[in-house]
């Protein structure tokens, strides 16, 4: 590229007479080069970390009993996928955890959105109830796990309740804030165009709160999984939390780490699907300005 592009303090100057086609080709090549560099360093860091872990654990610098090591974890993961545990195949455990988390997530978000929007639209109700919401929000959610087990038993519903409560407050407070942030002029415009209060809520308030709500959904899916797994720690017959708890009982650290890997993959997948959905719903938003960063 040195024949057409002169590097000058970060900005690229092109020699006089360079055609648009050449400039575009050079820009494409530079973007591709940059992407390759990013991917290379990502892989490099991963390889170094895993390599260091493997070597230090095998040579006894760190205690493999507590920390295990990558190849053992990969092997255990492979066995889990193929054979499952004594109680059930892995897929069944995963399904149980997902079922708990998804039901909790679904109802938690629905109730969070409905209550958030309703309170955001009603000043009096929000002034009256805000103190109670603060108090409830101050309870660390995990302490409710034993109570829910007592209330709903060892089955599905105690974990659903825990997931629900983890998700609800996050979604609720974001939906509430999103309603308050809705543009005054836009609301007035809708009213003068003839919108009833319900039409204002539906066609102005909810769409403008949507980016706030989505931000909370991203975080709270992780919370839903936390709720399900913590519930399973306390008492369960199946589920990923149950696998981790059992592995702890027999000091199988490789299996504990393998379960963590499974959960990470699940959460990342869910995150990815949610981003796709958000992009579909938010087609109206201006695309972020591209300046060569991925």
């Amino acid at each position: 590229m040195t024949d057409i592009a002169i590097q000058s303090g970060g900005a690229i100057l092109y020699a006089p007479g360079t055609s648009d086609v050449e400039i575009e080709a050079a820009a494409r090549a530079a973007a591709l080069q940059r992407k390759r560099t990013v991917i290379f360093w990502r892989c490099f860091i991963l390889a170094v970390m895993l390599g260091a872990w493997e070597v230090t654990a095998r040579t006894g610098i760190i205690d493999a009993f507590f920390y295990s090591y990558p190849s053992a974890i990969a092997e255990r993961l492979y066995e889990l996928v193929l054979e499952g545990t004594d109680e059930a195949p892995l897929w069944y455990h995963l399904w149980i955890t997902m079922e708990e988390a998804l039901i909790g997530f679904f109802f938690g978000s629905v109730f969070g959105i409905v209550f958030g929007v309703a309170l955001g639209r009603n000043r009096m109700a929000s002034d009256v109830l805000s103190v109670y919401i603060k108090v409830l929000n101050a309870i660390p959610r995990v302490v409710l796990a034993p109570i829910f087990i007592l209330l709903f038993g060892f089955g599905l519903w105690s974990k659903v309740a825990l997931s629900f409560i983890m998700v609800f407050f996050v979604v609720f407070s974001n939906a509430f804030q999103g309603v308050l942030e809705a543009d005054r002029a836009m609301i007035a415009n809708a009213q003068i165009l003839g919108a009833s209060p319900w039409q204002v809520t539906r066609s102005v308030i909810i769409p403008s709160a949507m980016s706030w709500i989505f931000a909370s959904l991203h975080i709270s899916f992780g919370f839903a999984i936390v709720g399900a797994i913590v519930g399973e720690f306390i008492g369960a017959r199946y589920g990923i939390g149950f696998i981790i708890q059992t592995a702890r009982g027999v000091h199988d650290t490789a299996e504990m780490y393998a379960s963590i890997v499974i959960i990470v993959v699940v959460v990342l997948t869910a995150e990815y699907l949610m981003t796709l959905l958000e992009q579909r719903l938010a087609r109206w938003r201006p695309a972020p300005v591209g300046d060569g960063h991925e």
Binding site: M186, A188, N189, L193, A195, S203, A282
Partner: protein, 273 residues
């Protein structure tokens, strides 16, 4: 004959209207004081005055979004109670719905008012054509320029067939060239619709170019300082008339009134700061 149909009844009347606001620390202050204004049917009135003097408050009282603390506001002879469906409003800020494309934005009014979908979209299609955006029906607001967004806002307002059109510095964010084009566009739409207009602006030339009557307001609390009739014949070509001697003469006269108030309001701000 009821007041509603009687054409001799003014479209808008503000009779000795005052409006108080409470500041966050509980003090009350006045934005409008003994304000009176009459807008005849089909008349184009412009309000000019120093920044922050209460021009927008006046419009809010006419829409019914705000209530007077004393005095009376009448629309078509009837006291204002709530939002009147005969009123249309064009905002200073971008008040389009960014998640709706152009045609969905324009169809919003008729749909809110319960007209059938097909009919609403047919009317929207028609109005988008009239403001020259036929090729942009499926575009979202962020894909349009400032001037095009204002055209959408005009179509969105005119589709409801308002008998009273309130405009709150609608073109202040546009560049000078675009603004002149929009003025001509507005005058054309208005000449067909026969609506009564109250146009708030701080741009004196804009006021003179568009209006039949210019109200000069005083610094806060706002009251009417002077009313100037603009006898420039219609149809007017905005891009031309500003160079005519009579236009310049009018601007000079009105500016004399306005200057004192602008001076006073900026002195107030300095002493408050």
């Amino acid at each position: 004959m009821s007041d509603q149909q009687n054409p001799s009844v003014p479209a808008i009347e503000l009779i000795n209207v005052s409006r108080r606001f409470l500041s966050p620390d509980g003090k009350s202050f006045m934005t409008l004081q003994d304000f009176s204004m009459t807008v005849a049917r089909g008349e184009f009135v412009a309000l000019v005055g120093p920044t922050g003097c209460g021009k927008s408050t006046t419009l809010n009282l006419i829409t019914g979004l705000g209530r007077p603390s004393s005095g009376e506001v009448r629309v078509m002879g009837q006291p204002v109670r709530g939002i009147d469906p005969r009123v249309g409003f064009v905002f200073q800020a971008d008040a389009l719905f960014p998640w709706r494309n152009v045609i969905d934005n324009v169809a919003a009014g008729p749909l809110f008012r319960g007209r059938p979908r097909a009919e609403a979209y047919e009317a929207a299609h028609d109005w988008i054509g009239r403001v020259g955006l036929a090729k942009f029906e499926r575009h979202y607001p962020h894909q349009l320029s400032g001037g095009m967004r204002k055209r959408v806002a005009l179509a969105q307002t005119f589709i409801n067939g308002p008998e009273i059109l309130l405009m709150d510095e609608p073109f202040s964010a546009l560049d000078v060239q675009t603004r002149v084009v929009m003025h001509e566009e507005l005058l054309q739409l208005w000449s067909i619709s026969k609506a009564s207009v109250v146009f708030v602006t701080h741009d004196l030339e804009e006021a003179i170019g568009l209006a039949d009557k210019v109200y000069v307001l005083t610094a806060r609390p706002a009251t009417v300082k002077a009313i100037h009739a603009i006898d420039i014949p219609r149809p007017r070509v905005i891009s031309e008339i500003r160079y005519e001697p009579h236009f310049i003469e009018l601007s000079r006269t009105i500016w004399k009134d306005l200057r004192e108030e602008v001076q006073m309001s900026s002195d107030d701000m300095k002493s408050a700061a």
